[in-house]
């Protein structure tokens, strides 16, 4: 009788032993079997660490297998400069991708979804090693070439009575010979001068002698639009909507939905938001008409300015940056 009980007890212990030890062991083995080749990249909002790992190494010409998952909200993955489709990263789901880099360098990968007020802090680096096939290096940005201090405070008192009209400016342009306007239509001239500087130069020209101050402003608006194509204008608006609206607002006034997060009153809510001032107001003529496109490019490339503005240099291509700048000027110049 006692021996039967002992046998039953042993059997019961064996049964429970299988459960207690077998289940963890089974999960471990299943984990090993199912682990597909690839690096797991976990995404969480920047306040909780952003991308993990934050640095990934790869080699030129060799596939980089990545598995993405989000630990909180929906994120997106993209690599700056490269023209790759965005990958959505969903909470608790695994999304896989294969990348092959043809050039060595440091590539920035970033989140493409507005996941938190610090969304734009959510970046990582892919270091690609290997030999380069490209010999020519890209040109440095205009503000570097010209040695412009993009942090200098710039204001102008030269303010138009009404918002300069592009349409009216184009009509004025038709009455002025192309030759006289040639220096002002030069792209590098327009990008390196502020609207107020161009207005001042134009006002001293003989061919503007009959024009009122406002009409000269209208002419400035037309000049600013002279190198803008409908395609780049649309691309600029889309990029602005995706990347700038949250802080600068759809109307450019600097009152986007996250703007209050960057106001001094909110500082302290996050360690990442120390000493931050409000986003720039693109509708303010005093400040905007005093700066050149080269300065705006510099600010976009480098970021900072004590505003919480991220550096878009590693994210956007040169043409993307300029299309955004062209769109930003539409807040000063109407159709």
């Amino acid at each position: 009788m006692a021996s039967s009980r002992i046998k039953k007890e042993i059997l019961a212990r064996f049964f429970l032993g299988i459960i207690i030890l077998g289940i963890p062991l089974g999960i471990m083995i299943r984990g090993q079997i199912s682990s597909e080749p690839g690096l797991l990249v976990q995404a969480s909002i920047p306040e909780d660490g952003g991308w993990n790992p934050g640095t990934i190494k790869a080699k030129v010409g060799q596939p980089l297998n990545l598995q993405f998952t989000s630990l909180d909200v929906v994120h997106g993955f993209s690599i700056g400069i490269l023209d790759l489709p965005e990958i959505d990263v969903f909470p608790g789901e695994i999304t896989r991708t294969n990348l092959v880099f043809s050039e060595p360098g440091r590539y920035v990968y970033y989140c493409t979804r507005w996941c938190s007020p610090n969304h734009w802090r959510m970046r990582g680096t892919i270091i690609v090693e290997g030999e380069s096939r490209v010999e020519q290096k890209p040109d440095p940005p205009l503000y570097v070439v010209m040695g412009i201090d993009i942090d200098q405070d710039r204001q102008t008192n030269l303010i138009p009575e009404a918002t300069p009209s592009l349409k009216a400016g184009k009509e004025i342009m038709t009455g002025i010979s192309r030759q006289k306007l040639e220096p002002y239509l030069d792209l590098s001239y327009l990008r390196t001068h502020s609207p107020s500087e161009v207005w001042f130069s134009l006002s001293e020209e003989e061919f503007t002698g009959d024009l009122s101050d406002q009409e000269i402003w209208n002419l400035v608006a037309a000049l600013w639009n002279s190198n803008v194509t409908p395609e780049s204008s649309l691309a600029g608006q889309q990029l602005y909507d995706q990347n700038c609206t949250a802080c600068h607002g759809a109307d450019g006034s600097g009152a986007g939905i996250f703007a209050q997060k960057y106001s001094p009153g909110e500082i302290g809510s996050s360690n990442l938001l120390q000493d931050i001032t409000s986003p720039a107001d693109f509708t303010n003529p005093e400040s905007m008409l005093a700066v050149s496109s080269a300065i705006l490019e510099g600010k976009m490339l480098r970021g900072g300015m004590g505003t919480g503005m991220p550096n878009f240099g590693p994210i956007f291509s040169s043409s993307e940056i300029w299309s955004i700048i062209d769109y930003i000027w539409t807040f000063q110049f109407t159709d």
Binding site: I6, K8, P24, I27, S34
Partner: protein, 452 residues
């Protein structure tokens, strides 16, 4: 309703008296809990993609409230895996007695002053205060379960029998209270047989089973509250004098002394918690939700303070006021505490109805998450059952509000019937109307919170 002894069916009798079916049930539940804990600790922190959150706080909780407790009383307690390690350590066996006395631990008696469910009221309230995080963060759920297993082990090493289940488990307290409604009861058949049985093996144990782990003498068992459905007394009674009866719903509620004062407060706490949970989890108040989540912040302290004040002061005071009115104008009124305890039995069906309505709201809305996590319990990309890609699909969304309303109305009807029966049975409690008004008011409030 005439009671029917389920043990008259030989299959049920063998199934419950044999130790193996229960061991297999407990083993299965333990296995699931192990997966839950591993998922919580090592799986994705995304709640709806992690088995620990979906299985425990959506599937298990809904099953507990909607099926197990209303129909089987403490049925869950009979296979609950949380006290198993502690019981094995304490008893020295996993299957049952008879392999030699290897009892381990101090075996102290539980302090007399704590022989009530005040600690369980406290542990439930503590859990509720942190519930926003517990219910959404898998790791917290896993640590909570581990903590409960650890507490059960600690208590089993110090005190005799299942002190944790009886006096500390935050879930066991309300399961016991709501099991008064259940249509299943374990009772003795003949009082005389127990009286004449000298050794009382149901309490002391013998070679066939342990003495009641819940520290109950089955011969004196009148209510479901304290019976843990462990079925040891079925095994230890040498006279086959234990029955498992099918009876009418709520049969225990109107028995004299059915509810003690600590249980009255438990009934009120459960009712208040259902309302607060509904407001936090389902309501449109973002600031309230944020306050419940931001543990340690000023807003959370206000939330926690309000929760405690509502459940331990405000609602009891309102109910006290209603009870007080029942006594006005009567010269033969019993002590207010007596009336408070007696009428608080009506809050038990009301509370269960409220929790059922709350559970219906999320099981149909979020139940579809279960298919995904069963296939990928850790949320790491597995597809064990081929259902990992199942998308979130609310079920029966068109009828859920109606079902919620039905649950609340059923609870109100149960509360009303209970109050009326108590009043009819006891001449000293002749005025149930203020209690009915209180229950009606609470139901209207819950309807507004849950159904809108």
């Amino acid at each position: 309703m005439i009671k029917r002894n389920l043990l008259s069916n030989p299959f049920i009798k063998i199934g419950l008296t044999s130790r193996w079916p229960q061991l297999i049930g407990r083993g299965a539940a333990l296995g699931v809990f192990i997966v839950v804990i591993i998922s919580g600790l090592f799986g994705t922190p995304v709640g709806n993609r992690n088995l620990s959150i979906v299985l425990i706080w959506i599937a298990w909780w809904a099953a507990l409230i909607l099926i197990l407790v209303p129909f089987l009383g403490r049925g869950w307690c009979s296979i609950c895996p949380l006290p198993l390690p502690s019981e094995w350590i304490q008893q020295g066996t996993v299957l049952g007695p008879g392999t030699g006395n290897t009892r381990f631990g101090k075996n102290w008696k539980w302090p007399k002053k704590l022989r009530n469910i005040w600690l369980q009221n406290g542990s439930f309230a503590m859990m509720a205060l942190f519930s926003a995080v517990i219910l959404t963060k898998p790791a917290v759920t896993a640590w909570l379960l581990l903590g409960m297993i650890g507490a059960a082990i600690t208590m089993s090493l110090l005190f005799e029998r299942r002190a944790f289940c009886r006096y500390l488990c935050p879930v066991g307290g309300f399961i016991g209270l709501y099991s008064l409604i259940s249509p299943v009861e374990l009772r003795i058949i003949e009082q005389d047989v127990c009286r004449d049985h000298q050794t009382k093996t149901c309490y002391t144990g013998n070679e066939n089973g342990y003495g009641c782990p819940w520290n109950v003498y089955p011969g004196a068992l009148k209510l479901n509250t304290k019976c843990g459905a462990c079925f040891e007394c079925l095994r230890t009674c040498p006279h086959d004098n234990i029955a498992i009866n099918i009876r009418g719903f709520g049969a225990d509620l109107t028995k004299p002394g059915a509810v003690k004062i600590d249980e009255s407060f438990k009934a009120i706490l459960m009712l208040g918690s259902a309302a607060i949970y509904s407001a936090v989890m389902l309501g449109p108040w973002g600031e309230l939700k944020s306050a419940a989540f931001s543990i340690g912040s000023g807003a959370w302290w206000i939330f926690a303070g309000s929760f405690l004040v509502i459940n331990f002061i405000l609602l009891p005071a309102l109910f006290y006021f209603a009870v007080k009115i029942t006594q006005s104008g009567s010269s033969s009124s019993p002590p207010i505490k007596y009336a408070f305890k007696a009428f608080s039995a009506s809050l038990i069906p009301l509370g269960l109805g409220a929790w059922a309505a709350f559970s219906l709201s999320f099981i149909f809305t979020n139940g579809s998450y279960l298919w995904g996590v069963l296939s990928d319990p850790l949320g790491v990309g597995w597809n064990l059952l081929g259902t990992a890609g199942a998308t979130w699909t609310p079920y029966l969304s068109g009828v859920t509000p109606t079902l919620e309303m039905a649950a609340l109305v059923l609870g109100l009807i149960g509360a009303g019937q209970t109050a009326m029966r108590i009043s009819n049975q006891d001449q000293k409690l002749a005025q149930p109307w203020p209690i009915l008004l209180f229950c009606f008011g609470v139901t209207v409030g819950l309807l507004w919170l849950l159904v809108g």
